[in-house]
Symmetry: C2
């Protein structure tokens, strides 16, 4: 079995992984766009939005790496979209347009049933209504020995952390200050969960910390 | 009037400014020593403990700078010592030996009266029992136009932040993970307090963030 990883997860200086009041206009919540300033100019991001050019430094490398050897993703419902409650129809297909950047099976945690569907570029979205253990089991099967990436948001990461499922976390520490939102580490005892130290890598727009167990 | 600053304040990746269970053997609380790994090898720290040598890079510069133009300090009681409750006598004179690194008046917040006293190198400790406003007034008078440094710990910084007194905060973001302790930003809305963005400076052992107002 591969690793279970959180990659390229941006946090603000005051510890938030996303802003409040997420909606269609603010997929990352208010102020959350600043969290990802280190991403927008990179070659990888530019190519994801169909543009040429972009930076090729440390930040870009970290993003490239975050997509390597991933066999399946698990996302919280809010990372998939702004729709709350039961799915009114099958119209909402994620934030990412016709060809999402995943290219592997993606398991979306939700309380409301919905049929799986395939997008261009081989991204298949599945909706899991019976909790994180069920999602984890299905992701392992789908990943076929490759790594599983827990995409977020904060509360999804916190649930997987507390269940002891996560092997590695790559945080992008940014200078943004959000003031309110989802606190990633509040109430989490990381050493008790096996994470004692992190590796620090300075990027152009963020400082990257790789937390591993042991 | 000078600025009111927090300087070289180390925080862990999970957001703590000190460990739990501070005592005589653990001035920084359990695990808190790791928070300051970026400090110990610097030239400035070596010279403070009477030794030659040490690094002269960014981290050292940040420490040097943190002592520049300071006219007075304000410290929480725990930063001054492990004694709790009423002062049993005048024996405890701080963590720093005969010559503390301050060389200016230092105002210690405490609920228990104690007489001021002078140490070698012109550090005079004063004990303020009537709250942060009183300490701030006395520190301003003592600083004579120079900057006032709020030394810590976390709860002292939080009180001064919430009162709107702090102009600038320099955090040293370290890779340490503490799991428990004093959360610096929990419940604090930094943008609402006027802090919207930070400058990021890469050091050898920590990433420095300078938060200013506006």
């Amino acid at each position: 079995m591969g690793k279970v990883k959180v990659c390229a997860f941006s946090i603000s200086l005051d510890g938030f992984g996303a802003g409040v009041n997420q909606d269609l206009q603010n997929p990352l919540g208010l102020g959350g766009k600043e969290l990802h300033n280190w991403v927008y100019g990179t070659k990888r991001f530019m190519s994801m939005i169909g543009q040429a050019g972009g930076s090729t430094g440390v930040d870009n490398e970290m993003i490239e790496k975050s997509f390597e050897n991933i066999g399946a993703w698990i996302l919280g419902r809010n990372m998939f979209g702004p729709v709350r409650g039961a799915w009114p129809d099958d119209e909402w297909k994620g934030w990412w347009g016709e060809e999402p950047p995943y290219h592997v099976p993606v398991f979306v945690l939700t309380h409301y049933e919905r049929n799986s569907f395939m997008m261009k570029g081989n991204t298949e979205f599945h909706f899991v209504t019976d909790g994180i253990d069920a999602a984890f089991t299905r992701a392992k099967e789908a990943a076929q020995g490759k790594d599983i990436r827990i995409g977020g948001g904060g509360s999804t990461i916190r649930q997987f952390l507390q269940a002891g499922y996560i092997d590695e976390i790559h945080l992008a520490q940014t200078p943004a200050l959000l003031g309110a939102g989802e606190h990633l580490f509040s109430g989490m005892d990381m050493p008790a969960l096996g994470f004692n130290q992190a590796q620090r890598i300075e990027g152009e727009g963020a400082t990257h910390f790789i937390l591993t167990k042991g």
